[in-house]
Symmetry: C2
């Protein structure tokens, strides 16, 4: 595996993992009013397109990172819609 791919996997691990503490915090506090709804919607749409971009480029880090991020961000969006 090349250095660039490893770097991408590390980058993707960090940006993806970052949504775990957010998900846990939102789940625990049952509050997401400080999070912007348009932010979550645009973000989920964009991450979905990054996933397609990664598939077309056959770039593993982009596919894995955005696939998992999309799931986590959609759950956070669902929690916000539920709790707000």
């Amino acid at each position: 595996m090349s250095f660039i791919t490893l770097l991408g996997l590390l980058a993707g691990t960090l940006t993806t993992i970052s949504f775990v503490p957010q998900l846990l915090k939102t789940w625990r506090t049952k509050s997401a009013k400080d999070m912007s709804l348009p932010m979550l919607i645009y973000f989920c749409l964009g991450v979905f397109l990054w996933l397609v971009y990664g598939i077309l480029l056959q770039a593993l880090p982009i596919i894995v990172a955005n696939g998992i991020t999309l799931v986590l961000a959609l759950i956070i969006l669902g929690l916000k819609l539920r709790y707000d």
Copy 2:
């Protein structure tokens, strides 16, 4: 410009633009307690590495999107540290 590059630019525009309503909301309400601090820290670190990854790959959408996202996310992180 290829279809893949256009798709990446659209994806990057969406994920980058998503931070603008978040920044405006945090600025306006002066509250970011529902946002996770570890989330913002891991996210900024990860976006910085995505930027380096994009530079090494010479992938314009990755460079532009992550460069602007990094600036916006760092400002939101700064606002959270100030308001919390």
